[in-house]
């Protein structure tokens, strides 16, 4: 499971979003532009448009998550779509129903799109195979594999930060600023679907990504990963970074077993106030959340203006609106009724 190094020549077919490898550079730019439009909708007095009225978006989250599910549901509601929410704890999956039957039930209820989160890699792809063209499937995070909308919102947040740094509106900034951008992804890369998706997207945009982690938290093989480098020493790379992307230790996936102690991890790889002071004034700190204060990020750094975690959450809604809009509105030109 290595992130795609180059974007495919083919354009996104807009049937499902399962992996960042589905997106070409042009698709990515289009999604970012669309997200910016939807961010503006979110700032209106009534942050809601009727674009997806009468459509239904289902969320099937078989693995614990609140922010991603709430973000997708908020996005769907802002587009006036109806929302059906299935979670593992409250659904029949705990009564022994197979995922396939759950999916069939959801399809029979008449959803147009399902967002699938599952602890096992590849489940959204399997669900998409079952549903074919009838229902759009979005990967809401599958195991260690991918989390495409998280990577999209990270890139969108970075685009906003780059535009602010250049003092221009986001629309004019484009994605040129990503070329040569120095990004470090720090922490539990091995268990991180976020890292896999983000490395793929950043490579498409020409950023230089360095992974910073203890050897035990890196994937067994980095073959095919489009990286500028790998380091085991955060202090060595800190001085020349534009972006410091922190990952949470996925203790639920056993990350603790790969470390002598949490305290040692914090000493070596946590972003302390002292380390944050060595980051440039224009550098930014991102974290996909949920943050564990006092482990990968120090209390004071969370409140630093260079820490864009809340902006990431806000941007997440706009990005997911863009994804839902692209999946649920036609892409090919037909009869036009102007006027």
């Amino acid at each position: 499971m290595s992130p795609s190094s180059a974007s495919p020549a083919a354009r996104w077919d807009r049937r499902h979003l399962l992996s960042v490898a589905d997106l070409s550079r042009d698709d990515l730019v289009e999604l970012l532009t669309l997200s910016e439009r939807f961010a503006e909708v979110g700032r209106r007095p009534i942050p809601k448009v009727p674009a997806l009225r009468g459509r239904t978006v289902g969320t099937v989250f078989v693995e614990a998550s609140t922010r991603t599910r709430l973000s997708f549901e908020t996005a769907a509601r802002r587009l006036s779509a109806d929302v059906l929410s299935f979670t593992a704890s409250s659904s029949s999956l705990t009564k022994g129903e197979s995922l396939r039957d759950t999916v069939r039930t959801i399809e029979a209820l008449g959803v147009d799109c399902v967002v699938v989160r599952h602890g096992c890699a590849g489940v959204p792809t399997q669900v998409a195979r079952w549903l074919g063209d009838r229902v759009a499937v979005v990967n809401g995070g599958d195991g260690w594999h991918e989390h495409p909308t998280q990577a999209l919102l990270d890139v969108s947040t970075l685009q906003q930060a780059l535009a602010a740094r250049a003092g221009v509106p986001v629309e004019e900034a484009g994605v040129e600023g990503f070329a040569g951008l120095r990004v470090a992804i720090v922490g539990d890369v091995g268990h991180s679907r976020v890292a896999r998706s983000l490395v793929g997207l950043l490579a498409v945009l020409g950023a230089k990504v360095t992974l910073v982690a203890p050897g035990s938290l890196l994937p067994a093989s980095l073959e095919g990963w489009p990286l500028a480098g790998v380091s085991h020493d955060l202090d060595a790379v800190l001085g020349d970074l534009d972006v410091c992307y922190l990952l949470r230790l996925q203790t639920e996936r056993g990350a603790g077993r790969f470390l002598p102690s949490l305290r040692e991890y914090r000493e070596c790889f946590g972003l302390s106030a002292k380390r944050a002071a060595r980051l440039g004034p224009d550098a930014v700190v991102l974290h996909p959340g949920p943050m564990v204060r006092g482990v990968e990020i120090a209390e004071e750094v969370c409140e630093d203006p260079r820490c864009l975690v809340l902006q990431q959450v806000e941007t997440g809604v706009a990005v997911r609106m863009a994804v839902l809009y692209q999946l649920l509105t036609p892409g090919e030109s037909e009869e036009v009724n102007r006027g």
Binding site: F38, K48, A51, G339
Partner: protein, 188 residues
């Protein structure tokens, strides 16, 4: 919607046939419309011009400048509305929200003049009215269009018209500050 926008949606190539108004004609028409707006509203107090993305935007800006001349420099706020997300044909054709909605002032109690290039079926204006409903509660909404080409599908009529232009349904009209042209669209 702007002619450029529809062309980019892959509907084929616009083939111009007759130039109906020159750039100077458009300027005269807009000047008259500016005077009509002042006359109708007994001044420009509380008036806000909102250009519909994309063809209405340059027209709204020009109208705003002309209103300022008519009123000795009294500025009229000019904004833009993108109605793409309010269209009733989103499910029927590709609709890309391609440009921003910027509303410079509070619309509650304002007199909003919607500005567009071509009035045709009226569906864009219907969408704009729906969008306005989410942006505020204007005292009144008026409609200014450079060209009214007929073929309305909804009970909508313009308040200020640059030129009434009878057309066939299958014709295409391009209207902007540089003139008004009738033509056809060659299928791609």
């Amino acid at each position: 919607m702007a002619p450029e926008a529809s062309a980019s949606a892959g509907r084929g190539r616009f083939v111009p046939r007759v130039q109906v108004l020159s750039a100077a004609d458009v300027e005269r028409a807009l000047t008259r419309m500016a005077h009509e707006i002042v006359e109708r509203n007994r001044g420009v107090e509380g008036v806000v011009l909102l250009g519909l993305q994309g063809g209405g935007v340059p027209l709204a800006e020009r109208l705003g400048a002309l209103l300022a001349e008519v009123r000795d420099g009294g500025r009229v706020p000019v904004g833009t509305v993108d109605v793409a997300l309010y269209r009733d044909d989103i499910g029927l054709r590709p609709v890309q929200p391609e440009a921003a909605t910027t509303v410079p002032v509070d619309l509650d109690g304002a007199v909003v003049v919607l500005v567009d290039d071509v009035l045709f079926t009226g569906r864009t204006v219907r969408a704009a009215l729906a969008a306005l409903g989410d942006l505020g509660r204007p005292k009144a909404v008026q409609l200014a269009v450079l060209v009214d080409r007929g073929h309305r599908e909804l009970p909508i009529r313009p308040d200020f018209v640059g030129k009434n232009l009878p057309t066939r349904r299958d014709e295409e009209v391009q209207a902007g500050l540089d003139g008004v042209v009738i033509g056809e669209v060659e299928p791609a």
